[in-house]
């Protein structure tokens, strides 16, 4: 079976600092991958490379066999890779359901004239998109908030909305950057529940998270980074027992290797 997402030899340099150095891993459909590592180890940089915000100096990303080299972020989204942000980035001037509809943007085809004259095709497309958006909101537990403004949502609810928005493009791979930050324990549990349900439908998920209890319970596999390099990969249990990973977190002889 070929990997859904194949990342190979990613290298990213800022000024003189190598943020990512030859990172490779792959991911199959329906898998959840945890990305861990100490502060500044390159996790967020990696997500930004995957979603096209940064262009890597070297390396390739293939999504379903297709190379993503040189693609703009919106093209990568169209290709089937969606993400959430570490610091929430919702559209404050749009209602809850409109936020989700923006996430659907790359699947909508109606032109300016069709929109202006509200052709039957435009109406069908809009109605279908709205239905899907409402379904997604229901899925993440925000069905009650469809027409509300984003300001009415709590911090945790906004995170869920971000995920619904990311899902609106029917992605094959979903990247979540610290989805639990600022969530209460019960909200985090709800989130884990949602992610597990998505996995059943064949969605592949990459999640950066510092809440280790959350990560360890949720993911199939973990990739650990330190100083921009992959220092370990395996099941949660393997990672917890991996001396290089333990050293990266706690300090110690593991550093001498670099």
């Amino acid at each position: 079976m070929t990997a859904l997402l194949a990342v190979s030899g990613i290298r990213k340099v800022f000024g003189g600092l190598t943020a990512l150095d030859g990172v490779s891993f792959s991911l199959a459909a329906g898998q959840i991958l945890g990305l861990v590592g100490p502060n500044g180890s390159g996790k967020s940089t990696l997500l930004n490379v995957l979603s096209g915000i940064y262009t890597p100096e070297a390396g390739e990303v293939h999504l379903a066999g297709q190379s993503l080299r040189g693609r703009a972020p919106h093209q990568i989204a169209t290709a089937g890779l969606a993400r959430s942000f570490q610091n929430q980035q919702l559209f404050a001037g749009l209602s809850v359901v409109e936020n989700v509809l923006v996430g659907r943007a790359c699947r909508l085809r109606a032109g300016v004239l069709a929109s202006i004259f509200a052709t039957p095709r435009f109406r069908r497309e809009e109605a279908a998109a709205r239905q899907q958006a409402e379904d997604l909101l229901a899925l993440v537990g925000l069905g009650w908030a469809v027409g509300a403004s984003v300001q009415r949502l709590s911090y945790g609810q906004r995170r869920l909305l971000e995920i619904a928005r990311a899902l609106a493009s029917d992605p094959k791979v979903l990247l979540l950057d610290e989805p639990c930050a600022g969530l209460s324990q019960s909200e985090a549990n709800d989130l884990a529940h949602v992610i597990t349900r998505l996995k059943v439908n064949g969605l592949a998920v990459i999640v950066i998270e510092h809440n280790m209890r959350f990560v360890m319970g949720l993911v199939d596999r973990i990739v650990a980074l330190n100083f921009g390099q992959k220092i370990g990969e395996g099941t949660p249990a393997e990672i917890r027992a991996n001396p290089a990973v333990v050293a990266a977190y706690l300090g110690g002889s593991g550093h001498a290797a670099h």
């Binding site: 100490p38 360890m216 990672i239 670099h258």
Partner: protein, 237 residues
């Protein structure tokens, strides 16, 4: 010296710190360990006045400083070395140090000159780089300068936020050694939040472990290393 009592703080819609209490005695080095996102930096900001706490108190030498703005807390003898160093990029090393002077700098014997001499002793590299602009320094040099700036203010206690961040292992080992020697010669206390447990444990007198905005363990470094509380906090149970 420093006492933090039932501190709660957060940003906008989210609570980050829940009922944090800790103390740092005079001349003590106390480390707060925890994974990224545990709330360590928020704790520093709330202590130094950059973030107004929602509840709780911060006491320095028994006097409350909870509601003082950051720029007035420095004068009370609490210096904060922020994450990422925040060197003034367009000022030279010398100018960065000059900007950090306070009334206490001059009250101390020898004034600014003595402070500069002390900095030169601790970090000879900075003396060599005296006239270089802040942005041109390496990460390690910036961290030295950030600590040096705090020293110039002649504080009783320094808050040190992730001194190891972005530094190569050899460089931050030297940094921690320098911190220990600062304490040894001038009796300045430190509250260090750090991710790199090993180095912090090496020089700390007492350690707190934070997880998701709460203190989950506290004790002497040797005891904590034994009971794996730190490892749990970082890697999950």
């Amino acid at each position: 010296m420093l006492r933090i009592d039932g501190l709660c703080a957060g940003y906008d819609a989210s609570d980050v710190l829940h009922n944090i209490s800790l103390t740092v005695a005079a001349g003590q080095i106390v480390a707060v360990l925890g994974a990224n996102g545990a709330g360590k930096t928020t704790l520093m900001h709330a202590a130094s006045g950059l973030l107004r706490p929602r509840a709780g108190a911060v006491l320095l030498d028994g006097a409350p400083i909870t509601d003082l703005p950051a720029e007035r807390i420095v004068a009370r003898g609490l210096s904060h070395v922020p994450q990422g160093r925040r060197i003034f990029p367009g000022l030279t090393v010398q100018e960065n140090l000059m900007v950090a002077r306070t009334a206490a700098t001059y009250r101390a014997p020898g004034g600014f000159a003595a402070a500069l001499a002390e900095v030169r002793d601790l970090f000879p590299r900075l003396a060599e780089r005296r006239d270089q602009l802040g942005w041109s320094l390496s990460g390690g040099e910036q961290q030295m300068l950030a600590v040096a700036r705090a020293l110039v203010a002649r504080p009783k206690l320094i808050l040190l936020d992730e001194p190891s961040l972005g530094l190569a292992p050899l460089v931050f080992e030297a940094m921690f050694t320098a911190i220990a020697s600062i304490r040894a010669r001038s009796g300045i206390g430190f509250l260090i939040v750090e991710q790199n447990a090993e180095q912090a444990l090496r020089i700390a007198d007492y350690v707190y472990v934070m997880e998701l905005g709460r203190i989950v363990a506290a004790g002497l470094p040797a005891d904590l290393a034994q009971d794996k509380a730190i490892e749990r906090a970082y890697l999950g149970a």
